[in-house]
């Protein structure tokens, strides 16, 4: 194992896959000499040359469109879109094209692309640079969606995404690039579609992904001080959802809190909460709680931003309320 930053783990994945498979290439804005806005691709231009690391003009729609076309004809493109917010320019290419081509054309062809992008809060970057839009992608059949929290998972999942035969939206978090974690020294893959128990516990399940996993772990620490053992699940893949792992945990704990940085309403938490409520009906000790961003755009102001998104205190509070929950009497 080697300790490394999230961004370095991603870079290792890209490098290894580019070495392994000559069809793999990268395209995006400022990914070459600049090394990417968040320094993920630093050095890859120098290593692989401008045929494999392609700086594009500012044309997000056609970056994704070109990735689709290259994938349909034999390439294995990994496109970088600097902020998920800018994918708003490329939704046709991602949703109407990439996600549907395999089905629409009768299975004749498939679209193995990875769209790496970056989302979330933490930098006071404002309404147009801080969104978390995973729910959009999770809603679309034909896409896969991945959102790793640790360097190890980031590397293993990015490698799997590159080898996958389908369009994968790979969501990084702007606040995680510099975090460090152990990464295995040998070659490995993390399978798409499998969640991970990040911390075992028996009293309540905290369901998290991407940056919120760290908040959930902190909350679990805090809860442990009052003797509560929280189990933390790191989803890792958002589509397909690993409901098996989630349900197995909540079956046991009978209490769950889902945490995400995306807006509450119609966020991924709703999907998980409703699946849990259905699967474990009558067996939950309290309703599934969602700790999410308020339904408010994000201010370009680090202090105000913090008021909108989940923090450890809100998770702890939600967990405590869930643990102290008693069914109110029906007053029909």
């Amino acid at each position: 194992m080697t300790m490394m930053m999230f961004r370095d783990a991603l870079r290792q994945a890209l490098r290894e896959e580019m070495q392994r498979d000559p069809r793999v290439f990268l395209l995006g804005e400022d990914i070459g000499r600049y090394g990417g806005a968040y320094a993920v691709t630093k050095g890859l231009l120098e290593e692989f040359g401008p045929q494999r690391v392609i700086d594009t003009p500012m044309s997000e729609g056609t970056i994704v469109g070109a990735a689709v076309g290259a994938a349909m004809t034999g390439g294995r493109p990994v496109a970088e879109i600097m902020y998920v917010d800018f994918l708003a320019y490329a939704m046709d290419q991602l949703v109407n094209q990439a996600a549907k081509i395999h089905y629409m054309f009768g299975g004749q062809i498939h679209v193995p692309i990875v769209v790496r992008t970056q989302q979330g809060t933490g930098r006071g970057a404002g309404a147009q640079h801080s969104q978390s839009l995973e729910a959009w992608f999770v809603h679309i059949p034909g896409l896969k969606v991945v959102a790793p929290a640790t360097p190890e998972d980031a590397k293993g999942l990015l490698k799997s995404a590159i080898r996958d035969g389908n369009p994968v939206v790979f969501l990084e978090h702007k606040g995680l690039y510099a975090i460090k974690g152990e990464v295995p020294d040998h070659e490995y893959l993390i399978p798409i579609g499998r969640a991970r128990v990040a911390r075992p516990g028996s009293d309540i399940t905290l369901i998290s992904y991407s940056r919120t996993m760290y908040l959930a772990l902190e909350a679990a620490d805090a809860l442990a001080q009052s003797g509560i053992q929280a189990e933390v699940i790191d989803l890792r893949t958002l589509k397909p959802l690993d409901m098996e792992t989630i349900i197995a945990s909540v079956k046991h704990t009978r209490r769950a809190v889902v945490i995400h940085e995306a807006s509450l309403t119609a966020g991924l938490g709703a999907e998980i909460a409703s699946r849990l409520s259905e699967a474990l009906f009558g067996r939950l000790a309290a309703p599934v709680r969602r700790v999410a961003a308020l339904d408010i755009p994000l201010p370009a102001n680090s202090h105000l931003e913090k008021l909108i998104v989940p923090d450890t205190a809100r998770i702890v509070r939600a967990a405590q309320e869930t643990l102290g929950y008693t069914v109110k009497e029906t007053t029909a």
Binding site: G61, M72, D92, G106, I192
Partner: protein
């Protein structure tokens, strides 16, 4: 211009015309599986001219009005008709219909229902040719409506920056649904539009398969030689409505009359006779053969089983073993 070339050009145009006339009949009989169906009657010379200029390993991307592109590329009429009727033997298992009709084995990367949606795909195919050295040229067909979508601009620019082996062919049939070209965009030639990307641009008579062929052949050769993209404006006319049930009330009947007088098939036949490229016998043979192929195609389609229910549920994801 040799005899064989003329035979082929006429053959393509006639097959497209007959296929689409038959499609309209089948549609009127309520036999199509989708309500989406757009025919290109009047525009056949563009598809014929362009596809004749292509090599077998080249790629083409197509539009919602794409029957002609697939037919001229060598598409199987039976599987096409089957696709329109939602049959299991259709190109897309009866799941794509007219608007997504595709034969990937022919380098056809799909008809597309989003106007402009495939233009980026064409850039990507051409990019991969450049990166992999596969020697293919990608021809991107699109309508005049797509010219005003942002992707047109992004794609032309990107193809020009990377000097990609791509040829962009605007089938300017003068209308995007009801919007006349003259109201969609200022009166600017495709040559001038291409100048904005420092890339060759040319305007051709879209009713003349030979003119289209020449422009396309030159552009494709230029692209294959590493010269980068070309923008071709092929000026043509859609003889019928945008789709079923559109009486084209927004068009001037006199304008329609004038364009109909320039039916690409009639014009080509007259010229081929004049120039001695084809005899009346040749033409009759071509037309009879096309007729027969169509009869057979319709029979094949009608006798094919409907797409079974399972087809609805398959192919959402491509199976991946790796992870």
């Amino acid at each position: 211009m040799n005899h064989e070339f003329a035979c082929q050009a006429l053959r393509h145009m006639v097959r497209i015309r007959l296929f689409e006339e038959r499609t309209l009949e089948v549609l009127m009989q309520g036999k199509l599986a989708s309500t989406m169906c757009h025919v290109s009657i009047g525009q056949e010379a563009v598809a014929a001219g362009v596809c004749m200029a292509m090599q077998p390993n080249d790629y083409i991307t197509s539009t919602h009005r794409g029957h002609g592109h697939l037919i001229a590329r060598g598409g199987d009429l039976g599987r096409m008709m089957a696709e329109l009727m939602g049959k299991a033997t259709g190109y897309c298992k009866g799941r794509g219909g007219s608007m997504h009709i595709t034969d990937v084995a022919l380098g056809h990367l799909g008809a597309n229902g989003i106007v402009g949606g495939h233009i980026g795909i064409a850039v990507g195919a051409a990019l991969w040719s450049k990166l992999s050295g596969n020697q293919a040229v990608t021809v991107c067909m699109f309508g005049d409506g797509a010219v005003t979508e942002g992707v047109f601009h992004e794609a032309l620019n990107m193809a020009a920056v990377y000097q990609l082996p791509a040829v962009f062919v605007c089938e300017n049939n003068q209308y995007a649904m009801s919007l006349p070209w003259t109201k969609a965009t200022p009166p600017v030639s495709f040559k001038t539009r291409a100048d904005a990307y420092a890339t060759p641009g040319v305007d051709v008579d879209g009713q003349d398969p030979l003119a289209v062929y020449c422009a396309a052949a030159q552009a494709i050769a230029h692209a294959r030689a590493g010269g980068g993209p070309t923008l071709i404006g092929a000026h043509t006319y859609r003889f019928l409505g945008h789709s079923r049930g559109d009486p084209s009330a927004y068009r001037d009947p006199e304008e329609e009359r004038q364009w109909r007088a320039r039916d690409p098939i009639a014009l080509f036949k007259a010229r081929a006779l004049d120039e001695g490229w084809l005899t009346p016998d040749d033409m009759q043979t071509i037309e009879a053969e096309a007729q027969r192929s169509l009869d057979e195609a319709v029979r094949f389609a009608e006798e094919s089983p409907a797409a079974p229910d399972e087809v609805a549920f398959e192919d959402v994801y491509f199976p991946t073993a790796h992870s």
